[in-house]
């Protein structure tokens, strides 16, 4: 592992070690470029991951104070936990379920396809599927995505059997165990899936791709990576010419450091990334770094989500095996005859008893609620992931009234469901209910959104610098050596789980950064 001096301004400094930052770090290191990778959390491992929902949550989740506002139910149920993301080496790739889906062609052209949706801030991506396809291919290969590159699909569990049979009854055609970055056989020195059932708690077998035990050790092996853990970045600094020069962070002992940088790439997930830009405001960038467009923090998207849990007369034991064991993709199409733009995926999900009690219907009590828990072993479940509308008013801002442990303003996350989101969720709940009732569900519960795992759009990609924060390579329009490398770049959310696209964009960005460095453009 490299030991790069704080006064050494020749390295790329990456903030965040998850899907975006961890991948970018490895890709650059493989090209011989020096990288300082700053991670706020500790380094865990498959050995230290915990098969216990609350204990694991305490180990991995980002629990720094945040505030919420808006009409979304998360603000009521979890007012200080808008997002369920991770503060640990590997970031939220420790927690993610592994679904790895390419966006559809039309989803890169949301504004053109969906038209002028009132009270939405739709914009076409400045790239299309053809442009991203080679990088999707590289990401799928890197991550070992099932049903790509001759990697077999995973075997479905009991929860999938229920989903599959219901899907057949409803006439759905696209139902399988899907495209998962979970090894279905030994690959890349990682074991195959043991059907542990604790995908959200960090994979103890290492079958599920995470930058923690793939990208990061591979980057370390090059000798070009300097990974620093438990360091929290306070701000990015720049010079009079408007170029980023350094990153200021606090280490675990509370000491401040200033790491000089040739290039800075921010991948702190879609809440911390805009927060850092806003907290880096200066006389040259009074509205926040790279925010001449005013779009930093705006267009926050979190996917339309919701879950449908159903109980049956017979046992299911849905918690056995992969959490996201299969998918129905028929509703992911664009079909405005359903009464909304965009589409949604239906993916199996399960929660252990502790989390089921906490998330099935937050705040509920009484015999109606406990009656469902009594049927715990007979429950099946699905998660709905749908495209939500970008809105300028859905945004991450600094909360001047609440400070974190470093004295910095905490992020406030404001979200109001768009009428399109409401219509899509109602349709998805209805279809989910029908699916389970078609195979004998005795009771169906429509579970409201969990704290957001798919946080997107707060530094969006745009061709026009006035309409977004970064260009098609994630390079900020305002600061040429400042990049955004996570889901914040997303122009729109599409209906697919975002990780594969984040990884693909990071690979593509690494090529661009390496090229720009070699040409002395940054």
């Amino acid at each position: 592992m490299a030991n790069i001096a704080t006064s050494d301004g020749s390295a790329v400094v990456i903030i965040g070690s998850g899907a975006g930052g961890g991948t970018l770090a490895n890709e650059l290191c493989q090209k011989g470029i020096k990288v300082v990778l700053l991670e706020a959390g500790k380094r865990e491992s498959s050995a230290t991951f915990i098969n216990d929902e609350w204990k694991s949550f305490g180990q991995l989740a980002w629990l720094d104070k945040r505030t919420t506002s808006g009409t979304w139910r998360v603000a009521t149920d979890f007012p200080n936990l808008p997002a369920w993301v991770c503060k640990t080496v590997g970031g939220t790739t420790t927690h993610w379920a592994g679904a790895s889906l390419r966006f559809q062609e039309h989803e890169f052209k949301a504004r053109t396809t969906y038209g002028d949706v009132a009270d939405a801030n739709l914009l076409d991506w400045p790239i299309d599927l053809a442009e991203l396809a080679p990088y999707y291919h590289r990401a799928e290969y890197k991550m070992g995505v099932t049903r790509t590159n001759d990697v077999p699909g995973l075997p479905g569990n009991n929860n999938f059997k229920v989903l599959y049979n219901g899907a057949q009854k409803l006439g759905y055609k696209k139902c399988s165990t899907g495209h998962m970055a979970i090894n279905s056989r030994l690959r890349d020195n990682r074991s195959s899936c043991m059907q542990l059932g604790f995908c959200f708690q960090g994979c103890k077998s290492g079958a599920k791709w995470s930058t923690l035990y793939t990208e990061i050790p591979k980057a370390e092996a090059t000798g070009h990576l300097d990974l620093r853990t438990q360091v929290h970045v306070l701000r990015v600094e720049h010079n009079a010419a408007g170029k980023a020069t350094a990153v200021v962070y606090v280490d675990a002992a509370g000491a401040q450091h200033r790491q000089k940088a040739r290039v800075v790439a921010i991948a702190g997930n879609s809440i911390e990334t805009p927060r850092l830009l806003l907290n880096s405001a200066s006389s040259l960038f009074p509205e926040g770094l790279a925010n001449s467009s005013g779009q930093v923090g705006k267009n926050y998207m979190r996917h339309l989500t919701g879950s449908v849990y159903a109980s049956f007369d017979e046992p299911v034991h849905m918690y056995r095996g992969t959490t996201m064991a299969g998918i129905v993709q028929d509703e992911a199409r664009f079909d405005p005859s359903r009464g909304f733009a965009g589409g949604y995926e239906m993916e199996t999900i399960s929660l252990g008893l502790p989390f089921m009690a906490a998330f099935l219907n937050p705040g509920a009590w009484g015999a109606d609620f406990t009656g469902m828990l009594d049927a715990y072993t007979n429950m099946a479940g699905m998660w709905i992931v749908g495209e939500d509308m970008p809105r300028e008013t859905n945004r991450v801002t600094l909360n001047p009234d609440v400070k974190d442990q470093y004295g910095m303003p905490v992020p406030n996350v404001h979200y109001d469901d768009h009428p399109n989101d409401v219509a899509m969720r109602a349709h998805a709940f209805s279809q989910g209910r029908k699916l389970y009732e078609s195979v004998g569900a005795k009771r169906v519960v429509e579970t409201p959104p969990y704290p957001s795992t798919h946080n997107l759009g707060t530094c969006r990609m745009s061709a026009d610098p006035k309409l977004g924060v970064v260009n098609p390579h994630g390079q900020t329009h305002d600061v040429p050596n400042l990049f955004i490398s996570d889901g914040s770049q997303f122009t729109t959310s599409a209906s697919e789980n975002p990780t594969l696209t984040i990884v693909s964009l990071a690979i593509r960005q690494s090529d661009y950064i390496a090229s720009a460095m070699s040409k002395q453009l940054v």
């Binding site: 699909g153 049979n165 043991m194 034991h317 252990g352 009690a357």
Partner: protein, 190 residues
Amino acid sequence: MDLRNPPSGELSRRDMLRRTAVLFGTIAASSTLAALAPSRAWALELQTLSQGDGDALLAFAQTLYPHATLPTAVYALVVKDLDGAAAKDPELATLLRGGTSQLDSAAGTTFATASPDVRLAAAQKIEATPYFAKVRSTCITSLYDNEMAYAHFGYEGASWPKGGYIRRGFNDLSWLPNPPASASPTVGLL
């Protein structure tokens, strides 16, 4: 007072008399938990709360999250956790003591000995209070995140020590047809 740190089932009579606040009971022989517990008898000695507070909390937890066959020993975990937290948090102790009065007042009698219907109506009356919110949220973690609850509800907990479910029933559901291999391939070589 979970199965890893079992309560004493052999609390002496002298101890019982000396302590003023003790919750105790017996796990029914028919319960799935009877075989797991080292002793069917259980007792919880309160550190901070009074007998009346403890009795009220126990009855309140059973009113909020009624499960017909869930042993009282599991509900006692709510009391144990709140009593333990109150020992370190005087404001919480005050909140919990005041809550007993609120429950009794809402019930028009001693809440802990009131009928289920009266308890339910009383709980609804105080739903907007901080006491209600504190006890309700504690119930979620205290009731459902322990090994007795896992056994009762049929959740198998940590799977890693047992090698996961790949050979232990991850796909053993037999009341629906198996999907075709194209949708759900068979288990490959490990």
